[in-house]
Every structure is written in structure tokens, then in C-alpha cells.
Symmetry: C2
Subunit: 334 residues, 2 copies
């Protein structure tokens, strides 16, 4: 897509606008996070400082805080829970990067790249155990239940991802199970816990919203690999294909391929380090065979189901932001 073409595409609601009603609390979340994980240990302090510089979107805290404001009377615990939701995410990110040998995240070196794999393993454990200790300090079993179940799902998801590595037999139902475990589960928990902090009547609705939003989020993430043109190469990154990760666009396209097209996919998956031309080739095949359109439609369906979950909620700016978050998720470009 040329620059001119991009400028004419309608712009997805900016994350900043979605965060507007809870801006003050959200701005306090980083301080809450560093209060929870503060340590005298020099390595931990250095890793903390590095993670602090690796600014994330704070998407889980955003949703948790919005959910807590649905009835306009969050009970005061929401900022701490928002920090916990980000920490649980961060702990899993640190371990995932170590397991995947990823060197860069959000433009910064990962903990395993900056320090070592050993430190990444222990640092992930540290962040997670601190998040748990904070939940225990807050003294409510329901958020503990939601976050421990999500962590459990995330480890199952990560294990499934390892097992399915290099497996073109990975099917759509495996994919739904995987992305629910690795992504939707924690987003669902964040929304549920948010509701517990001020709008408990909407707990089930927010859980459903978060789960469905999470599915849409991961489908969109997996689509970006096939669609988003990188500034340097002018081509989609194709990182998942490069790492032999099978995601929805490919799963949907596989049955539509000619024998020759399928042969080119098989050949890419049989090559340890596929070259850029092979990746661009398979991206084109997946597009031609309807994989991108299929994934877009599915992502849209999840967003619609999430929107439907908002039906019982009172009309308010907060509800509007939750709705806008769905458009943001589906249309985002990074």
C-alpha cells in the first residue's frame, strides 16, 4: 500500500482516545507495577528498569480499568489489579521470548538478549510470583481465580505452540483452542476482574466481551504478519511463515490451494531458513486462496460477538470506549 492509499483508509479509533476516560488511573499503573516488583537485587533491578523502558500498549490495564468504571463507581482496587494484569502478561512475554529465542520486542532487546536465557527464566518467575503475592495481599479469591486460570491457559497455549511447530496438520479448531489459551484467556480475565471492582452485575458480560475481543485481537495480530507492509522491505514481514508458525490465514487457504501451490508451501516448511522470495510467494498464495479474507471475516465475527456481549451494559462513555476498542483491535496496524 502506498503512503497516499494509507492516508485515505479510515483511521481506527486511537488507543489514546479509548483510554481517555481512565487516563489518570492508567498513568498510575506503571508506578503500581514498579511498586509491586521493586527489588534490592541488582540484576532484578536492572531487568525491571529495562522492562520499564520497553513501553507496552497497556491494553490489559486499559480494558480492566474501563470495565471497573461501567457504573461509575470503581472500588479503589482497580489500579492494583490493572498492574497485576500487565505483570502477568509481562511474565509470560519474558518466558515466551526466551523459549522462542526472540531478540527484539517493541523495538528493544528482550531480557534473554540483553541479559541471558537463565536470567529471563528466573525474571519471568519473579514477575509472576510478585503478581501473585500482590493478588494475595489484595485478599480477594475471585481475581486470584481468574488470573491463575488465565496463567494456566497461557502455559497450555505456549506448550501447544511448541508441539504444533512446523506442523501443517494444525487445523482451525487447534488454532481456536491455541489463541483462546494464549491470548483471549488473559484479556477475558482482565475484563472480568475489572467488572469485579465496581460493576459485578456485568461480570459475565465483561468476561464474554474480553474472551471474544481476545480472539479478534489474536486473529488481527496473525493477519498483520501477512498484510502489513514493512517500511524497510516494502513487503509484509512474513515472520510467522519464516518461523514455520501456522496461523489462520494459512490454515484457511490450504484446502483451496492447487497441488502446485501446496507444493510451494510444503517446500517453505521443509526449508530451515526460507528466503524472502519464498515467503513473499507463499504470502501471495495465501492471499489468492482467500486466507486473508477468511481471517478478516472471522476477526470481524469475534468483534461482533464481543459487541453483542456489551448489550446489557448501560449507555455511557465507558461502554462506547469498550466498543471502540473492538474497532481498534480489528483495524490496528501494529
Amino acid at each position: 500500500m502506498t503512503l497516499e492509499a494509507r492516508l485515505t483508509v479510515p483511521v481506527a479509533p486511537a488507543l489514546l482516545e479509548i483510554q481517555d476516560p481512565i487516563r489518570k488511573k492508567l498513568d498510575r499503573v506503571p508506578d503500581e507495577i514498579w511498586r509491586i516488583v521493586k527489588a534490592d537485587d541488582l540484576i532484578i533491578a536492572a531487568a525491571n528498569a529495562h522492562l520499564r523502558g520497553m513501553k507496552g500498549k497497556m491494553f490489559r490495564p486499559t480494558l480492566l480499568l474501563l470495565a471497573s468504571e461501567l457504573e461509575g463507581n470503581a472500588d479503589g482496587r482497580e489500579t492494583a489489579f490493572a498492574a497485576v494484569s500487565e505483570l502477568v502478561h509481562l511474565a509470560s512475554v519474558v518466558h515466551d521470548d526466551s523459549v522462542d529465542h526472540s531478540n527484539v520486542r517493541r523495538g528493544q532487546p528482550t531480557i534473554n538478549a540483553m541479559f541471558s536465557h537463565q536470567i529471563a527464566v528466573i525474571m519471568g518467575d519473579y514477575l509472576y510470583s510478585k503478581a501473585l503475592a500482590e493478588l494475595v495481599r489484595l485478599g480477594d479469591l475471585e481475581p486470584l481465580r481468574a488470573f491463575t486460570a488465565a496463567s494456566n491457559d497461557m502455559t497450555l497455549g505456549e506448550m501447544r505452540q511448541l508441539a504444533s511447530y512446523d506442523a501443517l496438520s494444525f487445523n482451525e479448531s487447534d488454532y481456536w483452542q491455541l489463541i483462546h489459551a494464549k491470548t483471549a484467556s488473559l484479556l477475558g480475565a482482565a475484563c472480568e476482574v475489572g467488572a469485579l471492582c465496581g460493576a459485578p452485575a456485568y461480570r459475565a458480560a465483561m468476561r464474554r466481551y474480553g474472551d471474544q475481543l481476545g480472539m479478534a485481537f489474536q486473529v488481527a495480530d496473525d493477519l498483520l504478519d501477512y498484510t502489513e507492509v514493512e517500511s524497510v522491505t516494502g513487503k509484509p514481514s512474513g515472520n510467522d511463515l519464516r518461523e514455520h508458525k501456522v496461523t489462520l490465514p494459512l490454515i484457511a487457504a490450504l484446502p483451496q490451494m492447487s497441488a502446485a501451490q501446496r507444493g510451494r508451501v510444503d517446500s517453505l516448511f521443509a526449508t530451515k531458513l526460507p528466503d524472502e522470495a519464498d515467503i513473499a510467494d507463499v504470502v501471495a498464495i495465501v492471499t489468492e486462496c482467500g486466507g486473508i479474507d477468511y481471517a478478516r471475516t472471522k476477526g470481524q465475527q469475534f468483534a461482533e460477538e464481543a459487541e453483542a456481549a456489551l448489550a446489557p451494559l448501560p449507555q455511557s462513555l465507558t461502554r462506547q470506549c469498550l466498543s471502540d476498542a473492538l474497532t481498534y483491535v480489528v483495524e490496528r496496524r501494529s
Copy 2:
């Protein structure tokens, strides 16, 4: 030590005898563990089966169950908590082996050796998140507090161990902090949680007993590396020295060494893969400079403090077993 010599040494109370009053419950702990961690995932099921074959001493469950029986009326939750105590230990062992690149534990290949480092990282996360989910299911915040604090200490301990690696500047106070975090903390939590299941009046006493026993346990463990003659080599293993781990016998001996002796220690620590003769040499220096005697005395002192913590307890077979456990810890050979 020859076989004859060993047979004349007074035998420490066997672990089996200490476990006698809680034998039936202890025998149910493995089933509880596998109930908690059971999974459909094929890799997790295979790793579980492998861990099940790697039979441990079940020392944490033993102490937890004994503590729960102090007043003869454990409340029924003790077997599940005992399983959790072993799972928290197992999760840390799986990550430690991965971080330390250890290939063998209890005569069996480790998870990282048998499967991969990646699987070990996720498997440790899985075991820990399952242990936490079980604690949440049991619905009592106090055991959650005790176990999450212990896990947190254990990650701090592991991080300190990485940092102190290869550091002859590691001093006695660093060592106490380290072994409290990595060992005493979970043993203390196990004893405390046991008391919470049937003898809450002795909660503080059992915490103190477990903490002190844990210190004695780790000192004894570190001594074995210097003292226990291996059947194959006929020499102490010296594994810690081989890996440049500084423990109490060496810390205590360092200030007593001549410049020549100190030079030989420095040289071993400057050699990436020290040979057997160098290790035997440093073991002899540490022994000659009183490091072994010093560590034995300290271990004994911790055992005495643990014994003192038992003073308020009613006289019973259970109390006697807790007392015998101290002798077992100090005199054990493996």
C-alpha cells in the same frame, strides 16, 4: 570411608520411620499431585509421567503432614496442601535444572535433558500455575500467602545464585540470605501450612522450626559435596567446586588459608573446567582450614534452634518425628 567404617557409624533416623505416623496420607500425595497437574496435552502428559518416575524424598509433604497432626485432628485439607508443597518444589527444580543446564537429577534425566530447555521453561510454569490454581480452589488465603511468599523468595535466591556465580567475594551473610531464600523459605511455609490444617496454635512455632530445619538442611546438602565419598570415584564429588559455586565450607575456610592455599583456590576458580586433582586438592585445603568442621557446627546450631522451636508442642509421636527429622537432616548422606 570403607564399608566397614560406614556400618559402625550411628545410623540417622530413617526417613521411613519419620514418615510412619503419616504413612497412609503420604502415600496418597502422589495421586493428589497427578490429579492436580493432569493434562490432555501430550507433551505435558509425557513430562508428568517422567517426573512421576523421578521419585523424590517427599520431604516437604512429610513435614507438612506431621505438622498437621500435632493435635491429632488434621482438618482434611492437609493431603492437598502436601501435594501443593511438593509441586511448588518440583516447579522450581524443573526451572533450576534448566537454568543450571543440569542433565541428571535423582539418577534420572532432567526435563531439559529429556525434552528441551523450552519445554522445561513452560513445564515449570505449568506445574507452578497448577499448584496455585489448587490453592485458589482450596479457598484459604493464608496458605496462598505462605506459598507465594516462598516462591518469591526462591526466585530471589536463584537470581542471587546466578549473580554470585564464580564470586569468591560471596560472604557468610550472603550465604545465609541465599539458603534461606532458596531452601528454608519453602520448608518453613510447608510446616506453617501444616499447622494451619489442624494445629493453628502452633503456626508460629512450626514456621520457626521449618525455617531453621531448612537452614540445617541446606548446610548439610552443601557439606555432602565436600564429604560424601562417591562409590565410583572413591572421592567427594566436589560438584559445587567444579561449577564454581561457593558454599559455607569454602567461605569459612578462606580466611584461614595461607597465601599458597588461597592461590590454589583462586586458580581453580579461574579454570573453566578444573580437573579432578585440583578439586581434590581444594577439598583437602577446605578440610584442613576448618571449613567442614565450621559448617558441621553451624548445621548443628540450626538443628538445635529448630528443636527449641518445638518446645511449646505437646509430647507426642508426631513431635518425636519432627525432632528425628532434624537428626535425619543433619546426618543424612544423600
